[in-house]
Amino acid sequence: MVDVRGELIKRSLFNDHDIRINEVRSILGFLVKADLPAKSIKDVVDVLFADPIIEIGTCNDEILNDTAIFPTRPDAVISIGFKPGVTDNPGTAAVDGLKILHPDIDEHSAVSTTVTYTFHGLDESVDIEWLAEQLHNPLIERAEAMDTRDIATSFPKLDFPEAPPNEFTIPSIIDLEVSDAELEDISESGILALNLEEMKAIQTHYRDPEIQAARTARGISASAPTDVELECLAQTWSEHCKHKIFSARITHVDRETGEESEIDSLFKTHIMKPTEEMQEEVDWLLSIFHDNSGVIAWNDEWSLCMKVETHNSPSALDPYGGAMTGIVGVNRDILGTGLGARPIANTDIFCFGPPDWQGDLPANLFPPSRVLSGVHAGIRVGGNESGIPTVNGAIVFDDRYIGKPLVYAGTIGIMPRQLPDGRLTHIKTPAEGDMVYMVGGRVGADGIHGATFSSLELTEESPSSAVQIGDPITQKKMLDMILEARDAGLITCITDNGAGGLSSSIGEMAEYTNGCEIDLSKVPLKQSGLSSWEILVSESQERMTVAVKGDDQITFEEMAALHEVEATVVGRFTSNGEFHVKHGEMTVASLPLEFLHDGVPQLRLESEWKAPENEAFIPPGEVDHSEILLELLSRPNIASKETLVRQYDHEVIAQTVVKPFVGKHCDGPGDAGVLAPIHGNTQGFVVSCGLSPRYSDIDAGAMAAAAVDEAVRNAICSGVDPEKMAGCDNYCWPDPIVSDKTPDGKFKLAQLVRANRELERACRGYRVPCISGKDSMKNDYGKGKDKISIPPTLLFSLIGDHPDVRSSITSDFIATGHQLYLLGESKEELGANEVAYMLVETGRADGIGGEVPRLVDIEANLGMYTSLSDAIHSGLISSAHDCSEGGISVALIEMCIGGRQGVSVDIENTGDASIWAKLFGESLARIIVAVAPENIEEFELKTQNHRCTKIGTTTESNNLVISSGNETLVDVDIDIALKAWKSTFCGGEF
């Protein structure tokens, strides 16, 4: 029988390192710590650990010398196990299984899992220690490697990973009556990420005589914070939680126009205000900005909500765990929306360094290919095991993401608009006296300081405690239970425990009733001995904070027991304006809610715009455009990612109408996901996204506008109702605050200002309110001249109503003789286009500069999109696809690939631009459609007021032929194009 695990290792060593090995075999190990009768151990192995049909189970570590099992002696044996304290999901599951067989074993029984690989026919030149490094991440795993070429084979010894006992320390009092330099030192050495002004605001708070009197009455240090309070403030005031840069007062100077202006909060000015104004014009914006995700009314019975998060820093340190906690974390944002929503679809967008990167890597960074495979695996496991389909996404590559990969994880949720007890589901209804439960996983030392850490740049000293691995099954059990409790009317308030842990979740919920009291001694712990502040701020995963009325406690707890979910009362709501934290009888924190939430001083920042200088992109003269097209198709940014995407379950819940890959052989690109979430009902919704980070090299404003247009275009192509679309903005920026390590902070902030202004203009123009969003503002690595900053990146995600999924269409051509049209026009906008980067990287052009694609006449675009939408729902369109990276020629060949259908196209009348711009340029607001002969007349009538150019027809040939007048520019066989398109990521596997 094939040892698939071993085969995978063998294959990846060959693919990544060109190392050939005859055979790799795998042994799954279970270190069991339990009091079992000796005679039942064999039985446990057979019934629980080993599959009787495909595996051999043994308790004998001489297994490697058993020639019946290992006829050839291994040359090396490497065992890998988790480090102490790291989440071991199979281990937890094994304990659960053990308890079924032996219900009486004591509660401290534990199982730790390992995997051992034996290498047979390993070349002598391969260093065994190096080999072990390739197979594990030392931040969370340990490996034991044995060279067994010369010595007798014995099993590598990995001891049970015992975490050292935690030492409970009584909360200390931090004296803040010190010099400014010492205040800064307190912040830095404690990883508090608070600046001097914020430290001084805290100092001032403790000087207030009224505060001191109240604290004396509470029995807590009167004039200085406890470590619990300081940590709680640091979490709540972190950039991650408080979005201080987006709230800052900014002095903006534009050196090009002479503009000088003041902006009082980018968020309020450019995101909140436009959305609130749009809220007055429509009746479907139910809940925006103040909950874990934004909620829209989808129909009379159901509402939808959406949230996208980033998990960049954790993914840089441990790609697998970081990405997995990213996706299961954003699932909890949905579960914590209103009184609880059901997550029903995920989106995943990544930005990585080039997958084939051969250059040097700064210390502590993984090669991009390893980041990619780790992140992909984390997202796959997190989404698949949770039973939530991944329906939309993208992967973008650029050298600068080597320093910090971007991992955007989004989730869409659904909830009934009303509960059986009549309450509106999107409104939380806590009252004074309600009990506060912590539900789900336990609190451990893992995940301490995640929020503050993500507000700092990545350095070699970044803490490993910020890394966690998710546990989707614990979360799934919790999710099932919570939705049942919601429907039973047991929940009055709910929020997730993410960044900042209990300090954030309970601290936020306390605002509803104006106060709460919690007792940390009640919080269930993974390991004893955690100090008060650690319990309060730990970001251990899979936990929700839920408020329940006293009368409902018994029912709620019975429901939790049925689902085998831990639910523990840790506090209750009050109304005295205080966040009161006790540990047993001792008060360890007493913070006025007003100070906790509103006490952070507003940042004052400076922004200065001067357009960056880029050498102009001048395309080479004599070239074969067909070759350029084939080259573009194999670029990582354009190439098919089908192999990766197929590993995500995109159809669970039986609702996905338009899947990520479409067409005759299900391998053409889909523009957007279309889902019909109510079984048997044909109303649906569309999920799409847009991002073009490289446009920031010319103008971050254009980058932002392009992202919005792309998301809208994609949704329109799939049949969205243009009158009901909602957006989600996710900014990932390099640090935009001027400092010694960021001398160009003013420019980076000006990029942020421009991006926000264009986001507002595009959203208002397309009538797409932003219902949710997030920002991640410290995406840099290293210092000085070695510093790597990501290109400013705005991801725009969109959900919209789809009136009837049966009228949705896709990008693949479906028949011969259909007429092709280009909606929109091509302009001379090749700046920062994919083709420019390609030619520069391969030495055929000198620069990427020039005009970048701009969003000009939004009103005209919207009119065109609306007419197209009307034509789609009238059944007039047989295929539609938007033009993005690689322009018209790439869009056309993708449509050909999807349908295995040739076309002949003339681009002469597609715009006032050069051949390069017409073929490969990325001008916005362009969509290619195919129309069957019988629908031409009606289609042309519907689009007569818009820029709509007849460009060709689908043919019986197997070629894409593009000409301009009499000149043939491109003639490419679809099978050859398909090979180029699939070679980068799917190569060698099919």
Binding site: E385, H563, H679
Partner: protein
């Protein structure tokens, strides 16, 4: 005669496809309850209340220690008596994807006339080493007495699994299963002639997505009442879920807002109650997906035989 069979769709511990599995039985005319495994274990509820049991797809216990094993063990050790009586009463059971893995690990499949709860086959890692979601073509064994697949010839359905390779220790076992009609459906090359798609030679990836022995996709027990398969027939309950529906779609002018007469869905009872049943049988049939036949078969069987 039972006109409206009662179906228990198991939930909990990482079962993910319980909502859609419940929905399709509802559309087929059954009364469905999603029921947590622990309700049965505690004895508060009993399988004898039901006529059909479905173990849906998902990732019970995260597939840790092998797919289906931990839930399988719970069923072997905690529901043994209820399952024995259920089978003895001649009631149909289906396991889809992870549910199939669970039934194999409990020993109910391939199984004996009287369940002995001993595992004799397995479902393990795909040869590709990857979890994959892709559409495959199945052909059904016309000689099988499996009550779930009566009258079925071919079907296009999605697979979504990482451990779908069906294996037995000795291929002679497959010979005897074959002669008993237990090899119910197999992955086939869709370009083969109808009725001639099934072959014992392992077909290449991705036609056979996992490397199963003899391309086996689904099997039944000797009675034909217990059926397990890796692909997801519930995922093609409506034609709009087929990846090619728009390439060949029905262009009816009148489009009812909801073509199904029976809608059972997630979340609150209130929403269920407020939704009016729209009885438009002809449209329902027009838009019904191929996978529904399996659920109709079980409902008809109960109506005729129990």
């Amino acid at each position: 005669m039972i006109h409206v069979p009662k179906v228990a769709v198991l939930t909990g511990f990482g079962i993910n496809c319980d909502h859609e599995t419940a929905a399709v039985f509802g559309m087929a005319g059954a009364e469905v309850e999603r029921i947590h495994v622990n309700h049965l274990v505690s004895g508060e509820r009993n399988l004898e209340e039901f006529h059909i049991m479905a173990v849906p797809g998902g990732f019970s216990f995260g597939d840790h220690l092998g797919s289906g094993r931990l839930l399988g063990n719970r069923m072997r050790f905690q529901l043994r008596e209820q399952l024995t009586s259920f089978v003895a009463a001649g009631k149909p059971i289906i396991g889809i994807c992870n549910g199939f893995q669970v039934l194999v690990k409990t020993g109910l499949l391939p199984g004996n006339e009287i369940p002995d709860f001993e595992q004799t086959a397995s479902l393990t890692l795909n040869n590709s080493g990857r979890y994959e979601n892709r559409w495959v073509s199945l052909e059904f064994n016309a000689d099988s007495h499996c009550i779930w697949t009566k009258g079925l010839e071919r079907m296009e359905v999605p697979v979504r699994h990482g451990e779908g390779k069906f294996v037995v220790p000795d291929s002679k076992i497959l010979d005897s299963m074959d002669s008993d009609g237990q090899l119910v459906c197999r992955y086939i090359d869709p370009s083969s002639k109808p009725g001639e798609g099934m072959t014992d030679e392992t077909l290449p990836f991705p036609i056979c997505p996992n490397g199963s022995m003899r391309n086996i996709a689904g099997i039944c027990d000797p009675t034909g009442l217990i059926f397990g398969l890796m692909p997801h027939p519930e995922a093609i309950y409506a034609q709009w879920l087929h990846p090619h529906f728009r390439r060949t779609k029905i262009t009816s002018v009148e489009r009812p807002t909801s073509p199904f007469s029976h809608i059972i869905d997630d979340d609150t009872e209130m929403v269920e109650a407020s939704r009016t049943a729209r009885d438009r049988e002809s449209e329902r049939v027009e838009w019904e997906g191929a996978g529904m036949a399996i659920f109709h078969n079980a409902v008809s069987y109960v109506r005729e035989h129990l």
